[in-house]
Symmetry: C2
Amino acid sequence: MYVFEDLGGRKVALRPEFTASVARLVTTKMTTYPKPIRLFSAGSLYRYDEPQFGRYREFWQANYELIGSSRPEADVEILSISSDILKSVNLEKFYFKVNHIGVLRSILSEEGIEEKEQNTVMQLLDKRMWEEALRKVEEYGASSRCTDTLRALFKMESADWHTMIRRVKRCVKEYVEALDAVENLCEILELTASNETEHLVLDPGFARGLEYYTGMIFEIYVPEMNVALGGGGRYDKLLELFGGESTPACGFALGVDRTALAIKMQHPEWRPPGLAEKNLSVLVIPVNDQVRGEALRISSLLREEEIITEVEVMGRSLSRALSDASRRGISHVVIVGPKELENGLVVLRNMKSKDQKTVKIKDLVNEVKGEL
Amino acid sequence: MYVFEDLGGRKVALRPEFTASVARLVTTKMTTYPKPIRLFSAGSLYRYDEPQFGRYREFWQANYELIGSSRPEADVEILSISSDILKSVNLEKFYFKVNHIGVLRSILSEEGIEEKEQNTVMQLLDKRMWEEALRKVEEYGASSRCTDTLRALFKMESADWHTMIRRVKRCVKEYVEALDAVENLCEILELTASNETEHLVLDPGFARGLEYYTGMIFEIYVPEMNVALGGGGRYDKLLELFGGESTPACGFALGVDRTALAIKMQHPEWRPPGLAEKNLSVLVIPVNDQVRGEALRISSLLREEEIITEVEVMGRSLSRALSDASRRGISHVVIVGPKELENGLVVLRNMKSKDQKTVKIKDLVNEVKGEL
């Protein structure tokens, strides 16, 4: 966390995530709202870590939460909205790494390992430090049955999620509550699989660092990057922690910067949808100072139609402005001259074909769009 | 500014604005880019002030700059993009308060008042503390001609900008450079007026607090609020300050939170464009647990078409789910039952008219859109 003391001597942290703030909001200002509550937030967050690829001190997140339902379909809604968002920006081959934190926690609880110690173990698992985690578990006094079970979970070979569920069940069969957790995860994955075709990867050694997760957890990856695009899960005890009633909840946070990186990697030529996508851009050139006002007005007309439009603002001659437009890959130029203007006309030039035609100003938008 | 010492003992400020960062970027990483350069930025900014209406410690800005042109059409481009943006979110009756900082600064310069002292005066003017500003000017040794001129400017009655330009010209006629500044402002306003129909209010006592402005300055207001939605102007010396070549530039920053407040005030019923605007919202209800997966899949189909869609995730009975949907103003319900499903059908119910019909799942999106 990015913490400091402010000018008034108060201890302050820059917002590290949205979920805790949303939970506080729900337990203070929204106590009379009927459940379920669905909330969305987006903005900058901060961490103090050393910056590295996809890991900035200031980063953007889009975050959503579904509060009030303990049922698996709520978990599935969060999973499928996450999937829908990534599809909507044309990401391909992304996959969900999933687990149920209840499996690991139930095993540790049954061994008498307290929550605080469990959290330490989860943080090590989040960093994929399995051996260190096992050492901690031993140190906390777990039985060898426990460490054997955990080691088997961590070392489990990857397979389709149906197979994995069976293997995990077999592995944890002596821990009753862990089995319940596997059942819950199985129900979620079945419902998800009927809804989505994404690759679901069940990783029984996967944990998330945040302490508030209680159920299904997941992270989303693309093959091109080894950092998660986002993650989430079920956190049924967080609202209570903020003084609210016991309230089931789940949610997801998408890393916006990382998603942008992934889009760049998978689609280097990607441009925002709409006319920009078509590589259409217009430069409006007034041939002298007397027609500058009209050139500016025309550029506004084009922009209103979401056509990327610049107006020549350097006072260059027509020929210099044209060669600059050509060098910069502008697709079309509108030449505004006093004679044409008298008749409500301008010249529209295609910079690639060098074709040009005289068009009525009132038809200009359609003429430009017709060039697509 | 929101300043503090970080854990490493470094003095840090949370980003207070974008323009200085953009200027630094241009003078370091973009030195070989041909001019003009047009840049856009958006995100959170921070101030340490006491929060109040429309004035938050964390606030959002959208910011754009046009770097490299000293010509009035560049100022006009910034003014008209600002206007286009506010029109695009349906704001009405907004107006531009404009002035040219060169008028005030030229008068003070000619009186031998140094830039640092001028900045103090500008800050007082930004806070509309005209008398205090005049007192400072006297203190700095200005002639009585100077204070008389300034007082006349500050007290000038409001009129259309053509009239104001004439009055200001007459008022500052003995200060040659101030007259040049008025001429420049006049050219900008003439070009703007031929392009835009917004109300342009020339206020000769208007200054902005930031020290880097050198030319035309402006702020945008709506009648409902006494804080500016945004502001900008010309800053020809800022890039030099960051070690770059002398480079003319102008730009604008729009307060996103304030713009949202203004939209709320002028259009309390406003909803985002698209289907949300039409008040269409759908709740998908599975009648039993066996059809939950299909209900989730159907909700995804609807969401893909940007239809606001929820799925019933509380496991409520059909009748309770329906009455909850009705209470919450949901416009349409899709009922997913096992018998209909066998034939690829669901029931679509209009919650207002209570009409319901059985429709094919593959036609559902069109059926829902047809309900508009």
